[in-house]
């Protein structure tokens, strides 16, 4: 039994609320209409390839990556394109989206729909990167960074550790947990594919302690498909943050302002690894994902396999709501974004939808800072949120930059822990925004 590892600076232990970790993934089915955004990733929006009236199948390329930092978008349903125009996102901003009216469920012929697990990796390292690019795969943990860029190792750099992130430290969310319990072999094969593309020395799947079932199934899977190991990490937030996970697994630190590869590490979400398995072994582009629907206002929390573009309201209906919805959160309660639009589509990066009761929807009243130092103690980046707060209130952005505010990972530990309920994270985000704007 290997030692349980964790990161060294700060961290918190919020209540887990993992209501749905024992509820099997359910196929959400096909809605009547899907709305697929052409920008579901960090970088440039994809170029739209279809127009009104075009017929598409499941897996048809509908938008093409525009440049390196961009990603292909595929149709998740079969039917007719009825609209290509700006539509409101979850946060209420207009964005180009392709609306498709569903007719039947006809898939592109070359997608392997059999349930067989294909374990032999025939594609070369170069092929793998190309397939990942053509399949529109992006980081599915929440950041949405185009995966092909991450699996291309810059010259002169080596990958000592490929780390698969199965931590899922956000409260409520269980999508990765369920995926690891139900599809552990596919994830391990996905890890091996990534390992081949990156020429990684060590491949580790990191899971946190409070997922005993996932640890069990993964350990079984790594016994079948050799070359990958499982590392159990302590249950502590934000264990699943890239930098913190790297420190936990490898003992290294990503230099301030640097990338994980500078520490010889690449981190990929387990959901991404699963998507890579499907793309490389089953020829299936990324058009569906696992989404947790939970919160204190759901009747029956659950995990669903959802086609990209499905309206959130369709999923909320499946889970059922207890009372009038106070707040809808896309993502987890620590870093997720509160939405204004119940019809917002599920995207490649939607890990969960939380619906909260009206009473849980309000921000608490703020009182003066009592200098308790909790924010300093919990910050996993070793920053001083109280100091950033007072500097930003005085407009001293340069000073804030000197104390490394740009290294803030926006995990929210400071604001969560503040006994005076000062929105410390907001000040950090504001500082980062203002400093970057000046550059």
């Amino acid at each position: 039994m290997k030692k349980i590892k964790t990161f060294t600076i700060g961290g918190i232990h919020p209540d887990k609320f993992k209501l749905s970790s024992d509820i099997a993934i359910e196929d959400a089915g096909v809605p009547e209409i899907v709305t697929i955004p052409v920008k579901q990733h960090i970088g440039a929006p994809a170029k739209i390839l279809v127009g009104k009236g075009d017929k598409v199948k499941v897996g048809t390329l509908v938008a093409d990556a525009d440049g390196i930092i961009s990603a292909d978008v595929h149709s998740s349903v079969s039917g007719e394109v009825i609209k290509v125009e700006e539509t409101e996102t979850g946060s209420g901003y207009p964005e180009k989206m392709i609306t498709i009216k569903v007719e039947g469920d006809e898939w592109e012929e070359d997608i392997d729909r059999t349930p067989d697990i294909v374990s032999e990796i025939t594609a070369s390292a170069e092929d793998i990167v190309n397939i990942i690019r053509k399949s529109g795969i992006v980081g599915m943990g929440g950041a949405g960074f185009p995966t092909p860029v991450k699996v291309t190792v810059p010259q002169g750099k080596n990958v000592d550790y490929l780390i698969l992130n199965g931590i899922e430290c956000e409260p409520y969310l269980t999508a990765d947990d369920r995926l690891m319990q139900e599809c552990s072999e596919q994830i391990v094969i996905g890890a091996k594919i990534l390992s081949k593309a990156l020429n990684a020395k060590k491949t580790v799947i990191a899971v946190d302690e409070n997922k005993p079932n996932a640890i069990k199934t993964l350990k079984k899977a790594v016994g079948i498909h050799k070359g990958v190991s499982v590392q159990v990490c302590a249950t502590k937030y934000p264990q699943g943050a890239e930098k913190q996970l790297i420190t936990a697994v490898s003992g290294r630190e990503v230099p301030s302002g640097g990338l994980p590869i500078d520490a010889g590490c690449v981190v990929q979400n387990v959901g991404t690894a699963f998507a890579i398995y499907e793309a490389v072994q089953k020829n299936k582009p990324l058009f569906e994902r696992i989404v947790t629907v939970s919160g204190d206002d759901v009747e029956k929390a659950g995990n669903f396999r959802v086609r990209i573009g499905t309206p959130s309201s369709y999923l909320i209906e499946k889970a059922g709501q207890k009372s009038e919805i106070g707040k809808i959160i896309f993502g987890g309660p620590m870093m997720g974004i509160a939405g204004v639009n119940l019809n917002a589509p599920i995207t490649k990066i939607s890990s969960g939808i939380l619906i909260l009761k009206d009473e849980s929807a309000y921000k608490p009243e703020v009182s003066p800072c009592i200098r308790c130092a909790t924010c300093v103690d919990v910050c996993p980046q070793g920053l001083e949120p109280y100091m950033i707060h007072s500097l930003i209130r005085n407009g001293e952005y340069d000073e804030a930059e000197k104390i490394h505010v740009l290294d803030c990972i926006e995990c929210g530990c400071c604001a969560y822990s503040c006994p005076a309920r000062i929105p410390l994270l907001d000040y950090c985000k504001l500082a980062k925004y203002e400093i970057r704007k000046k550059k």
Partner: protein
């Protein structure tokens, strides 16, 4: 209507009021011992100080600062308790009220209220009284267990007072008969300020605060350890019998100061590193004042002097930011 707000969307159950509640709970044992030993007068002083502090904070917020009164956060109760614990039990009520005025109005509200004060308000109140009314502030009532009308002002000296005047004049054997034994000091059956006498009650309070994670162990540990190391060092090196380290540890306001005053959030440093520097400074200063100055006790002055260094310590003793590891 959907509500929107920035992340995070959940919070720790702890808040300022709950922290203050915990501090108040942790101070109860020391207060009970004080009342048991010094009787009704101790209770009167405690009640006066608490009511005085709360009332003054309420009035000051409402009529001077013209903001919503901050008395609800319970911090004024903590200041009142700590002030009372630092006074002899037979203080005239009006003097206690002057202490409240200095603590709340001058040391706290004048600096901008909770979280903004540079110096520990209760200590400022105590030191002001100490300098203004030296007789009353050093008239100690003889400890009498469960004698509630214990008003007998037949002055008993504190252990540190005896040690101070003992230097060179009293032989070692005589000294031993004058100072209380360790058990009495540990339990609190000794002369002194009403909240400082019982080491066990203060330790109990500290353990509660540590268990509730209201304070970290750094300041209490390094303060007491530094002081203990210095007194033992000098005791064994110079053979000066006025420096018996265990007597020093258990007497005076060391535990009250190290556990409850030096750990005050607002007037102590933010980083762990800073806290350690601050605590070592307090320990050294307490030793220097007790050993070399005209005063028998130095905890209040030591903490107040170190309070003044907190902004400087915060500036230079920063936590190490992730990814800036020194090679």
């Amino acid at each position: 209507m959907l509500k929107v707000s920035t992340a995070p969307h959940m919070y720790t159950p702890t808040n300022t009021v709950k922290i203050m509640q915990d501090v108040i709970i942790s101070l109860i044992p020391a207060g009970l011992v004080g009342i048991a030993i010094f009787g009704l007068n101790a209770l009167i002083t405690i009640v006066t100080a608490v009511v005085g502090c709360v009332a003054m904070e309420y009035v000051a917020c409402k009529y001077i600062l013209k903001v919503k009164p901050s008395t609800k956060d319970l911090s004024a109760i903590v200041t009142g308790l700590l002030l009372a614990y630092n006074l002899p039990c037979n203080m005239p009520i009006w003097m206690t009220l002057i202490g409240c005025f200095v603590a709340i109005i001058i040391a706290k509200v004048a600096f901008g209220g909770i979280g903004k004060n540079l110096f520990n308000p209760a200590l400022i109140g105590r030191v002001f009284l100490f300098i203004s009314f030296p007789i009353q502030m050093t008239t100690w009532v003889e400890p009498k267990l469960f004698d509630f009308m214990n008003t007998d002002a037949s002055t008993s000296a504190t252990t540190l007072g005896i040690l101070k005047h003992a230097e060179g004049e009293i032989s070692a054997s005589n000294l031993t008969s004058l100072i209380p034994d360790y058990t009495d000091m540990f339990l609190g059956y000794t002369g002194g300020s009403m909240g400082e006498v019982s080491a066990i009650a203060l330790l109990l309070g500290l353990f509660y605060l540590l268990y509730r994670r209201v304070v970290s162990w750094h300041i209490p540990f390094f303060y007491v350890a530094t002081f203990f190391a210095l007194t033992s060092g000098f005791y064994y090196y110079t053979g000066d019998n006025s420096l018996d380290p265990v007597t020093h540890l258990l007497s005076g306001g060391l535990f009250l100061g190290a556990f409850f005053m030096a750990t005050d959030y607002t007037t102590s440093p933010m980083s762990k590193k800073g806290k350690i520097i601050f605590a070592i400074g307090c320990g050294v200063l307490t030793f220097v004042i007790r050993r070399y100055s005209a005063y028998p006790e130095g905890v209040s002055f030591a903490i107040l002097i170190m309070n003044a260094f907190v902004p400087l310590i915060d500036k230079f003793a920063r936590p190490r930011a992730y990814g800036t590891r020194r090679k």
